[in-house]
């Protein structure tokens, strides 16, 4: 079996969010970048577990990004996986990124493609569905559990207000979130081993972008908290009812 896991780079969750160049670019100076948590904790780790359960499994990682993404890719390889592919492209939109991934996915004939549920910077939730459509494959999004028996997958996914259990045959595209697996920390052996694993760099193919980012805004600052004394919680209820008209 062949699995492809899509890995993206995002600012650390505690990063200060600010913009430069007339609010057209994220201020990346001094920001620490990490593997998008959904990709690392859930997509990658579940894929690793599948490989551990079946030694003949090949596990590849893919990223569409610039050379500055390589430390993130090496960190992902330290967790596991046989090799990584980086498509050297930085400025495409979701459709462009998905098209680059789909091209490699098709050529590599993967049985299973995992993405994260969303990137925590762009919050697109789009790449998985786009890759699936480009490959004409079924797509199960928001997976919280994934089991495989032969070539049949049983997937539990989040739906609005609950959960749903689905069954489908490989090949499949799955977007992963909390529940799929438990976060792992790379060990020394993994870190050393990752240094010599293949990281192939491929030049991008020309595809359209359907969207561009015109600018960013920060939400207006809050007016400040109105504190009510702990001796008089009834006053809070009155304010919420009469002033905020919240109920």
């Amino acid at each position: 079996m062949k699995i492809l896991v899509c890995i993206s780079k995002t600012p650390d969750t505690t990063s200060k969010i600010a913009f430069i160049d007339n609010n057209t670019k994220f201020a990346a100076d001094g920001v620490q970048f990490i593997i998008n948590p959904y990709d690392e904790w859930y997509a990658l780790v579940r894929a690793l577990e599948l490989k551990e359960a079946n030694a003949s499994t090949t596990l590849h990682l893919i990223n569409v990004g610039g050379a500055d993404t390589e430390p993130i890719i090496r960190k992902a390889l330290a967790l596991g996986g046989d090799e990584a592919i980086r498509i050297n492209s930085e400025n495409g939109d979701s459709f462009n990124i998905a098209s680059q991934i789909a091209l490699i996915a098709k050529a590599g004939d993967y049985n299973l493609i995992f993405t994260g549920k969303e990137t925590i910077d762009y919050n697109g939730s789009s790449i998985g569905g786009m890759v699936a459509e480009l490959l004409d494959l079924p797509y199960i999004s928001h997976a919280i559990k994934f089991d495989l028996e032969g070539t049949t997958a049983t997937v539990v996914r989040e739906i609005d207000g609950g959960e749903e259990t689905d069954k489908a045959n490989l090949p499949l595209v799955i977007s992963c979130q909390k529940g799929m697996a438990e976060q792992r920390i790379p060990n020394m052996k993994g870190i050393m081993g990752a240094r010599t694993k293949p990281l192939k760099v491929i030049e991008p193919t020309t595809f359209d972008s359907y969207t561009t980012i015109a600018s960013f805004d920060l939400p207006p600052a809050k007016a400040g908290v109105k504190l009510v004394s702990a001796d008089n919680p009834e006053e809070l209820v009155r304010l919420l009812h009469e002033e905020a008209k919240a109920f």
Binding site: D121, S126, E164, Y210, L227, S229, A244
Partner: protein, 317 residues
């Protein structure tokens, strides 16, 4: 024409789809056209009522097989219905997130997911969306002829207009679903968190699951959903689906009441789009107060019973 995808669950239209319908009707107004809707599967609700939200015509494919959700099948049908659409609107809920990206590829339409406002047409077609988990917005310009917008739930008010929509069957070609839905497990008797107007949420400050009565009692009185911080779900005090934040559900209710939650940046990422935020925490230095509109510095175990009593009085008055 603007086409709005109407999402249903167990035969009923979801609240998020009424928001999408009202939004779609406003987009249609901006473009000088009309808003129509597509609904797949069999429903109980009277679809003509969608007219009340500005929809002129509802296309339905009343086929039992479509009560089995498969993003691939749905995409194929919606693509056929969208042949004459300039803009297709989804709610950015779990269904919308599964279909909209596929449709984007299929009909070559740029997608803005997580839209927070109406499109700006002053130069091109630009839509504001939430990024960085609600900590910022990006203005996205769509450069394709057709456009798709997936609207954040709870970010656009439903606008009742009074009116009836024409309901017409839509004939579409589609194959058997490759994804079989085996079962659905809906949280019963509770308000779904993603759609709730009011959310009462508890953190590690509540000390243990046995103390959750004050959260659920207040929620019941207010018709609210309950939520929790991540560690609370991780140590199994509360079910995982209640976990809000960066790695949990992102919500935007009218009122969010946080009890015994410190307000870590990853928690705020999931709740900072709430209209009014109330924080009850015994530590005046808790970071949550900086993001709050109202607050009480105090012990939840003393404050909450009094709040519950006051709300009970108000509700029975």
């Amino acid at each position: 024409m603007v086409l709005v995808f109407i999402d249903q669950q167990a035969g009923h239209i979801k609240k998020a789809s009424f928001e999408a319908a009202s939004y779609g009707a406003e987009v249609a107004k901006l473009l000088g056209t009309n808003a129509e809707a597509i609904l797949l599967g069999s429903v109980i609700d009277n679809l003509a009522n969608l007219g009340n939200y500005g929809i002129t015509k509802v296309h339905t494919v009343d086929d039992e097989n479509l009560n089995n959700f498969d993003a691939q099948v749905f995409t194929k049908i919606i693509a056929q219905a969208a042949e004459n659409a300039e803009v297709v609107i989804f709610s950015n809920n779990t269904t919308g997130k599964a279909i909209a990206p596929r449709l984007s590829v299929r009909i070559k339409a740029g997608l803005v997911s997580g839209a927070a406002a109406l499109p700006n047409l002053s130069s091109g077609f630009t839509v504001k969306k939430t990024v960085f988990s609600g900590k910022a917005y990006a203005n996205i310009t769509v450069t394709t002829a057709k456009k798709i917008i997936a609207l954040n739930p709870n970010s656009f008010s439903i606008i009742p207009m009074g009116g009836t929509a024409e309901v017409v069957p839509f004939t579409a070609n589609f194959e058997t679903a490759k994804v079989q839905v085996i079962s659905q497990d809906l949280v019963k008797g509770e308000v779904p968190l993603g759609e709730a107007d009011i959310v009462v949420s508890g953190g590690r400050g509540l000390k243990g699951p046995e103390n959750w009565g004050m959260i659920t009692d207040l929620a019941t009185l207010l018709g609210a959903a309950t939520a929790c911080s991540r560690p609370v779900a991780d140590i199994h005090w509360r079910p995982h689906h209640e976990h809000v934040g960066q790695t949990g559900l992102a919500i935007a209710p009218n009122l969010y009441i946080a009890v015994g939650i410190s307000g870590a940046i990853q928690h705020l990422a999931g709740v900072n789009r709430s209209k009014t935020i109330v924080v009850i925490n015994k530590d005046a230095e808790a970071p949550f107060f900086k993001a709050a509109d109202y607050g009480i510095v105090g012990d939840a175990f003393e404050v909450m019973p009094k709040i519950i009593e006051a709300v009970r009085k108000l509700k029975s008055a």
